[in-house]
């Protein structure tokens, strides 16, 4: 399956991109502490961003406990995976466009139009 390249406002912030990228690595479920340590973010940031991703339907959250200690597990949904694929494809196009234009500048053949479309701006999630 090839996802359509398009920016996703929910995934674009780097912390959410990290969370989705880590969850897409291949593990079925990843625990809160493992995700927090791997992404090197604080508890509060992970809580806040995971709620946004959960509300968007990109991340599934399972809450449990071991004794008195609460444990939260995350996994990427099919919708989240598709959105991540699309967003990364868009980032790839952006990177290509940027490197092509910097090549043009280096070669002294800079052309603002140059037959390419400008990279998209990311719409706000609100």
């Amino acid at each position: 399956m090839t996802a359509k390249a398009k920016p996703d406002p929910f995934i674009h912030p780097i912390t959410r991109l990290s969370i989705c990228g880590l969850l897409a690595a291949g593990a079925d479920w990843v625990e809160f502490a493992a995700l927090r340590d791997a992404a090197e973010i604080s508890d509060s940031v992970l809580s806040k961003q995971s709620v946004v991703l959960e509300d968007a339907g990109y991340v599934q959250v399972r809450k449990g406990s071991v004794g008195r200690r609460p444990r939260t597990w995350f996994r990427l949904t099919a919708q989240g995976r598709q959105a991540l694929e699309g967003h990364l494809a868009w980032l790839g196009q952006l990177e290509e466009a940027v490197s092509a234009s910097s090549r043009d500048v280096t070669q002294g053949t800079a052309n603002p139009v140059n037959g390419r479309t400008a990279p998209h701006t990311v719409p706000s999630p609100d």
Binding site: A3, I14, L17, S18, G21, L22, A24, A25, G26, A27, D28, W29, V30, E31, F32, A33, A34, L35, D37, A38, A39, E40, V66, W73, R81, L84, E85, L88, A89, L91, G92, L94, E95
Partner: protein, 164 residues
């Protein structure tokens, strides 16, 4: 399955983060010890068939499977990462759907069958010492393959190859 993050823009940061995640999946000492015990119990099946006919073979198979799942559960709790067989898919598609770490998982299965058959052959010919040696070798091989399986899983997590 393909890596959704195999992309030059996002990969630099994600690779570092995925490496950190994969490094958490190093098995603790009790996991390897428990695995060795589980395989040792499993390989006693042929001996019990021969010398203890009143002990059911399925009992050792169930005990081995139970210990193995208990160890997997413990590893998941200790590392915070759940990987491994998805029971319904394994039932539906067999071992060939076992991802990530499929080659090592298949090797474990094949080695288990081969060692079991070798023990059966040796015991039928009254070669008890050789059968014990085969069982000991079998435990070592299975634990090594289990290590290889976890190594493959870690590599898959690093590369994003286990992406479902």
């Amino acid at each position: 399955m393909r890596d959704v993050a195999r992309n030059p823009v996002a990969l630099d940061l994600l690779q570092v983060q995925r490496s950190r995640l994969a490094d958490r999946l190093r098995p603790p000492w009790w996991y390897l010890t428990g695995s060795a015990v589980a395989w040792a119990v499993g390989f006693t099946g042929q001996f019990s068939l021969r010398y203890l006919p009143r002990v059911d073979y399925w009992a050792t198979a169930v005990a081995t499977t139970a210990v193995w799942f208990l160890l997997q559960w413990g590893l998941t709790r200790a590392t915070g990462i759940k990987v491994g067989p998805r029971p319904l898919r394994v039932l539906r598609d067999g071992l060939f759907y076992y991802r990530p770490g499929r080659p090592a998982a298949i090797a474990m299965f094949v080695a288990c069958l081969a060692i079991g058959e070798a023990q059966f052959f040796l015991l039928r010919h009254g070669l008890l010492a050789a059968a014990i040696a085969a069982a000991v070798l079998g435990v070592a091989v299975e634990v090594a393959l289990q290590q290889a399986w976890l190594r493959e899983v870690r590599q898959a997590l690093r590369d994003g190859e286990g992406a479902a």
